[in-house]
């Protein structure tokens, strides 16, 4: 991704260089929005791998998260802890406790977690200087809370043709919005070859004119 569509960090420091090309800053919330199968888990894990931390935690609500994908995008097995939290009533408490000591968190958000609670957890992430990547299983990250919001628009697979070969490269169209995308809607093309972190390969024409700070 060219640097022009990304804002600098609030303190003016340049965007950290990472393989994904998506901005990941300490103390910021990132929202991933889209249905299961749209490739956002792998994007979230790639962004998690870009956070400089000795311990990364993935909060798994359904008990489905497969660490193979995390290892494929570059997270060291020694540096990943998976927290399985299927109880939606415990989820806010668990995330609050994790924010006390973990600087890099990828968390699925179960149904039924209120907007007010999410906002309080976002404030705590900012206060603790932790990067939190939220993946709601239903609904959206509350407006204004996420520094960067990613919404999956389209997925195209290569490699699978009438029984020959196997699924290989995947191309995703992702809409970015929020302060991390310079307050505008941007559509980027993200490539996932299955062996490395996903990465932005091109910036497409902005599909929607307007400002978005949410």
């Amino acid at each position: 991704m060219s640097a022009s569509i990304l804002t600098a960090a609030p303190d003016g420091s340049p965007a950290p260089a990472d393989a994904t090309g998506l901005p990941v800053y300490p103390g910021r919330v990132i929202g991933l929005e889209g249905s299961t199968g749209s490739g956002l888990t792998r994007i979230g894990l790639s962004m998690l791998s870009a956070i400089p931390a000795s311990c990364r935690v993935a909060v798994d609500v359904r008990g489905w998260l497969c660490p193979l994908a995390a290892w494929e995008v570059g997270i060291d097995p020694d540096h990943l802890t998976v927290v399985r939290c299927g109880d939606a009533s415990q989820w806010p408490r668990v995330l609050a406790v994790l924010l006390d000591g973990v600087k890099a968190i990828y968390a699925e958000v179960p149904r039924g977690v209120g907007e007010a609670l999410l906002r309080r957890l976002g404030a705590k992430a900012r206060a603790r200087n932790a990067t939190v990547i939220l993946r709601p299983l239903a609904g959206r990250v509350p407006s204004g809370m996420a520094f960067l919001r990613l919404r999956s628009v389209r997925v195209e697979w290569e490699g699978g043709r009438e029984g020959h070969g196997s699924l290989g490269r995947r191309t995703l169209m992702v809409e970015l919005s929020g302060k991390g995308a310079a307050g505008r809607y941007q559509v980027v093309e993200v490539e996932d070859d299955g062996a490395r972190p996903v990465r932005v390969v091109s910036r497409l024409v902005t599909s929607q004119v307007g400002r978005s700070v949410g």
Partner: protein
């Protein structure tokens, strides 16, 4: 005057202050109350290293390759020296005589491991040779672990000595207290830190050779910081961190000096740079290096197996906070909900992951990573694997999937790959099955067909 947790504490006091009741570890306020005329000086580790250098030289005359932890605290591997001098007592007597001359009041402790040796030296006796390490450690108070919070919890549970802690089942301690508890249990049982070097390239040293010798102490300090940073960056790439580092320096006149520094926790960049700087300054100021420094080499001599390397902005406190947060999470959700994973051999995505509770050791792997595992579905792997395979309705046309039912609607299959066929463990009455990758407009899935039915076993999210 040093400090802990931001509080200024007395690090050392001279005879007159000690006569007035001042002791090491006392707060500054208490010390000044006892001895109002005392002159308070800030602690200067570099100057302490310089003063400690002649003592180290004297110890190295008896035992080569000592390992310095901090000025005033040194470990010496005594196996060879014991044989050379004809026994532990002979060696200790010689060492005591040497130290009495240079550092009256110094304490010596001899044991198999550094932890026991450290407490033997702190036993209050001038020299203590520990023959039965387990028995010696079992009598020590639990505070010997020197981790305040952990010690307070152990006391609250009625565990007051290291012996009582060692008697607890290891898995129970690991389950309740995580890695810190496990480490404490190992120490209490007489097993010092396990340093299991990972497979790393042989040459992990960094070296700088200068055309002109460095004469100014500031230049030496700059080079020490730069080289320490280079070494840590090199080790970080291999995901290891050093417990021991050998500092080797060559003077312009050809004299080569070396010293090993050791740490209970892996060094971070700042800690290593400080120690290299202290050592170089000590050599420069005590005449160990004259005519300027012309070469500096840093070699890690023991590496951690944890792969942990604090980043530039991380401190050790962050690691402790992380462990505390995970322990509290485990308390809320139970031990089976906080997990670590590592790769193992297998065909299905679920088979290829070995899980362990956080803070506990992995079981012996039953599926070898080195085996070929024919029939394994190639990468990318599904990022979601349902805990139980989910039934999926698929319309087939002569073994070709054409439509799948998602919720209430039928979606056409856009692309598919496979099948990867399995005979199954027929001796265990497992039926043959086949894996398919199926792509629809809603995404891609990994499916297994068996006995005419199809199940989702992975989602490429």
């Amino acid at each position: 005057m040093g400090g802990r947790d931001g509080r200024p504490l007395v690090a050392a006091a001279n005879d007159r202050a000690m006569e007035a009741g001042v002791e090491a570890g006392m707060t500054r306020r208490s010390a000044e109350a006892l001895c109002p005329s005392a002159l308070v000086l800030e602690r200067d580790p570099a100057a302490e290293t310089t003063r400690f250098e002649p003592i180290l030289d004297a110890i190295e005359d008896l035992i080569p390759r000592v390992e310095v932890v901090e000025p005033g605290w040194v470990f010496a591997p005594a196996d060879g020296a014991v044989r050379y001098y004809g026994g532990e007592r002979a060696l200790v007597d010689r060492m005591a005589a040497t130290l009495e001359r240079l550092a009256p009041g110094a304490h010596l402790g001899v044991a198999n491991g550094p932890f026991a040796a450290y407490w033997a030296a702190r036993s209050g006796r001038p020299t203590l040779i520990v023959k039965d390490e387990k028995a010696f450690l079992s009598g020590l108070d639990i505070s010997a672990l020197e981790t305040e919070e952990l010690v307070a919890t152990f006391r609250w549970l009625g565990v007051t000595t290291l012996g009582e802690l060692a008697a607890l089942p290891r898995h129970a301690v690991a389950s309740r207290f995580g890695t810190r508890g496990l480490e404490a249990h190992r120490l209490a049982g007489g097993e010092d830190r396990r340093v299991l070097p990972r497979r790393t390239p042989d040459d992990l040293t960094v070296e700088t050779v200068l055309e002109e010798p460095l004469l100014l102490i500031e230049q030496v300090g700059f080079m020490a910081r730069r080289l320490a940073g280079s070494l840590m960056a090199l080790l970080d790439r291999h995901r290891v961190a050093p417990y021991q580092v050998e500092v080797e320096a060559e003077a312009a006149d050809g004299v080569v000096r070396s010293r090993v520094w050791r740490s209970a926790e892996p060094f971070d960049t700042r800690a290593l740079a400080e120690r290299v700087w202290w050592q170089l300054r000590a050599w420069t100021e005590t005449g160990g290096i004259t005519d300027g420094l012309i070469r500096l080499k840093l070699s890690p001599t023991a590496l951690s197996d944890e792969g942990y390397q604090p980043g530039l902005f991380e401190q050790r406190e962050i690691r402790i906070e992380t462990e505390r947060a995970l322990e509290r999470t485990r308390t809320i959700l139970g031990p089976d909900s906080v997990l670590r994973a590592r790769p193992q051999g297998g065909r299905d995505p679920a088979e290829r992951v070995q899980w362990a509770r956080w803070g506990e050791d992995f079981a012996e792997p039953t599926r070898s990573l080195a085996s070929p595992w024919p029939g394994r579905v190639p990468a990318p792997s599904p990022s979601l694997v349902p805990s139980r395979p989910r039934r999926l309705e698929v319309e087939w046309d002569a073994e070709v999937p054409t439509r799948v039912r998602l919720s209430t609607r039928w979606e056409p299959v856009l692309a598919w790959a496979g099948p990867w066929r399995r005979l199954g463990e027929w001796w265990a009455e497992e039926k043959p099955s086949a894996l398919y990758q199926i792509v629809t407009s809603a995404g891609a899935m990994l499916c297994r067909t068996t006995d005419g039915r199809t199940f989702v076993v992975g989602v490429y999210d």
